[in-house]
Assembly symmetry: C2
Homo-oligomer: 186 residues x 2
């Protein structure tokens, strides 16, 4: 699938068929994460592949209590990727943060996440990025050590529905020329 087509047609998928994800496809998706760019090529990402139904259910129960349309997807998808990052690596130089933003873990992990979602889509697999959960308790379920931070869960599998296309802001609404407030596309 063409890059631009993949970017425009990727949707968040929240219902999955029970069909297993072929190991070859899973490897391709993980390879896509591997090739993401990162702060000084530090590659802070770490990924836990969860297939155990009990563990998926336990993680699903930790989604934020507000109406969360991905709750069932986390329990139901054949594969659940828990995307984590090693703390104190991205954004640091000789052990000290380079910028006033501190750890760039969330940023670098997201670069890999987008690769995962696009690669999956190009293979006919659906994903949804789930960040609204109790990260502390989910980290216990995954056995994460102190230095590893859980960022998102990504259910992965064959889509069992055709999601609608959520509307997007127009370029005229968020692209500026030379300085903030001066629209580029006037």
């Amino acid at each position: 699938m063409e890059v631009l087509e993949a970017i425009k047609t990727r949707r968040s998928v929240r219902k999955f068929s029970s069909e297993p994800v072929p190991e070859e496809a899973l490897r391709t998706v993980l390879e896509a994460a591997r090739w993401a760019p990162s702060w000084a090529n530090t590659q802070c990402w770490e990924i836990v592949v969860v297939k155990d139904p009990g563990k998926k259910k336990a993680l699903s129960d930790l989604l934020a209590p507000e109406r969360n349309p991905a709750k069932e997807a986390v329990a139901q998808a054949p594969v659940l990727l828990a995307i984590c990052g090693k703390k104190g690596v991205s954004g640091f130089y000789k052990g000290r943060p380079v910028t006033d933003k501190g750890d760039w873990l969330m940023f670098d992990v997201a670069l890999a996440v987008q690769n995962i979602c696009l690669a999956a889509h190009s293979l006919g697999l659906g994903t949804v990025i789930v960040g609204a959960l109790n990260h502390e308790k989910a980290s216990e379920v995954l056995g994460l050590p102190e230095e590893i931070e859980l960022v998102v869960l990504i259910p992965l599998g064959r889509p069992a529905h055709e999601p609608k296309t959520p509307p997007r802001k127009e370029l005229t609404e968020f692209v500026f020329s030379e300085e903030y407030g001066k629209l580029y596309f006037a």
Copy 2:
């Protein structure tokens, strides 16, 4: 270009030809950002397109003092994208943060950034993600209001060199099965 090929062959480009970026290509790259996923489709990203040589130079001068191989690229690329995010939107529900991570701005902006880098690469354009800079002073140069946070600068243009491929960790080094520490690819 195929998605998986684009993901694997994208490099960080730090030398650019002076050839202008066609407006059509720039629009395609910005469209790619537009179609990124985001927290509850909140689309917090805001982008300032900088072409003015004086402004590019001023921003280049604000890169972190440590050896920064992208310094010249920021001044020299025909287009510089300043990728920002609106604070207090991503990761919030009814004005309150949903998770213990607070603002998910860095995460959502990075999803859009990866789309930008892949779309550019598929059009034969190079990019490099520059995060090591004085964000506070750069925000002044860009005229950002208080509620808008600068995340990265991305020089964009026709590559004038063929970057080497930085090594990547193997999947055996960062993919685990069911719990952290138990390797998936043993």
